[in-house]
């Protein structure tokens, strides 16, 4: 039995559709960077192995810096753009219950997904992360990449199911199979 207390409703069910904050988005982004990098490494390893298998010569993409950088860039662009275009959430965002939506709250388009990815790279490498301060100080909690693409990030996790799980795991004073006082005679 877990000892995690049931969180207050305003912390779970009441937040669905609300703008997500900096901490949640940072953790989700970190998960995405890890996932994208992990998949890239796996892909490169498979490519090296395949080339060696086919040609008989050993091959390492890392020996070709330019091509490796290009492949990585294309891969990162594809990783974020495709997932945002299809479902509005990347692997990291799905894990931590976030979703990208339009400024009004509807699903985003492929164009917005691509713009957001480009905006993300711009904010990260050109502004050195300063563009992300908008998540804390902007009225709609939108960073520079959101402003470029016309998007926002909201909480999307099934908090109601989570709350039911917490309640289900809570210890009860009378478990099933036990009976209250006065019922033993009736059941005998």
């Amino acid at each position: 039995m877990t000892t995690v207390p049931v969180p207050a409703p305003e912390m779970t069910v009441g937040r669905q559709g609300h703008y997500a904050g900096a901490a949640s988005r940072l953790v989700a982004f970190a998960a995405d960077v890890g996932a994208a990098w992990g998949l890239y490494t796996l892909g490169v390893a498979l490519l090296n192995a395949a080339v060696k298998l086919i040609t008989g010569h050993s091959f390492a993409l890392s020996n070709h810096q330019g091509i490796a950088f290009l492949v990585l860039t294309v891969w990162e662009f594809f990783y974020f753009t495709y997932q945002w275009a299809v479902s509005g959430k990347t692997l990291g965002m799905a894990l931590f219950g976030l979703q990208v939506v339009t400024r009004r709250g509807g699903p985003i388009s492929g164009r917005q997904a691509a713009l957001r990815t480009i905006g993300l790279a711009f904010t990260l490498f050109i502004t050195l992360g300063i563009g992300f301060l908008g998540i804390v100080f902007q009225r709609e909690r939108r960073g520079l990449n959101d402003l470029i693409a016309g998007t926002a990030v909201v909480y999307d996790w099934d908090a109601r199911a989570a709350r039911l799980r917490w309640i289900a795991r809570k210890e009860r004073p009378l478990h099933r199979g036990q009976h209250g006082p006065g019922t033993e005679a009736k059941r005998a």
Binding site: Y19, A23, V101, V136, A161, R165
Partner: protein, 172 residues
């Protein structure tokens, strides 16, 4: 007395006698009725014997139940029922105790719902991280804006996009 061929017009004596008899009856019959002790007669009547001779099945067969039912106003009967009192007398806990939860889970979709929702440690950890993340988000938002002197303005900020969250009403 058989009906006479003679009419009262042609038989004045018969008519006169009839009138006399009628008058006598009107005077004598009430006297006789008053003199009769009905209770004494009733005490001598064996009601059980009378009832045992009555064929109830035949009486019931002649009763048109549908017509009786049509005349019953169910709405008025229902209005007079105090449902709250009936509910108070029902022991819900006793009913719940009788429910076979295992059969309920096996035979309904409840089992699949529980399976989807109770997925173990990983889900529990995720739930904790998400809820803690929400708390941390609030903390950063509140203190970050407090540092730049915008603490009070936060209350006017929208909670979410207009399609997903009802906009806050402005308090004047």
């Amino acid at each position: 007395m058989s009906q006479s061929r003679w009419s009262p017009v042609s038989n004045p004596i018969g008519a006169r006698v009839e009138q006399l008899a009628q008058s006598l009856a009107e005077h004598i019959v009430p006297l006789i009725v008053d003199a009769i002790d009905i209770d004494a007669i009733l005490e001598k009547v064996d009601v059980d014997k009378i009832v045992s001779k009555v064929d109830v099945d035949k009486i019931v067969d002649r009763v048109d139940v549908d017509k009786i039912v049509e005349r019953v106003d169910i709405e008025r009967i229902v209005e007079r029922i105090d449902v709250q009192k009936i509910i108070e007398r029902v022991d819900v806990n006793a009913i719940v105790d009788e429910i076979d939860i295992d059969a309920l889970v096996e035979q309904t979709e409840l089992g699949s719902i529980i399976a989807r929702s109770t997925t173990g440690v990983a889900t529990e950890i995720l739930d904790v991280i998400r809820s803690q993340g929400v708390g941390l988000d609030d903390f950063i938002l509140r203190w970050g804006n407090r540092l730049v002197g915008r603490r009070r303005r936060l209350a006017t900020w929208p909670d979410g996009p207009p399609l997903l969250v009802t906009p806050k009403r402005s308090i004047r």
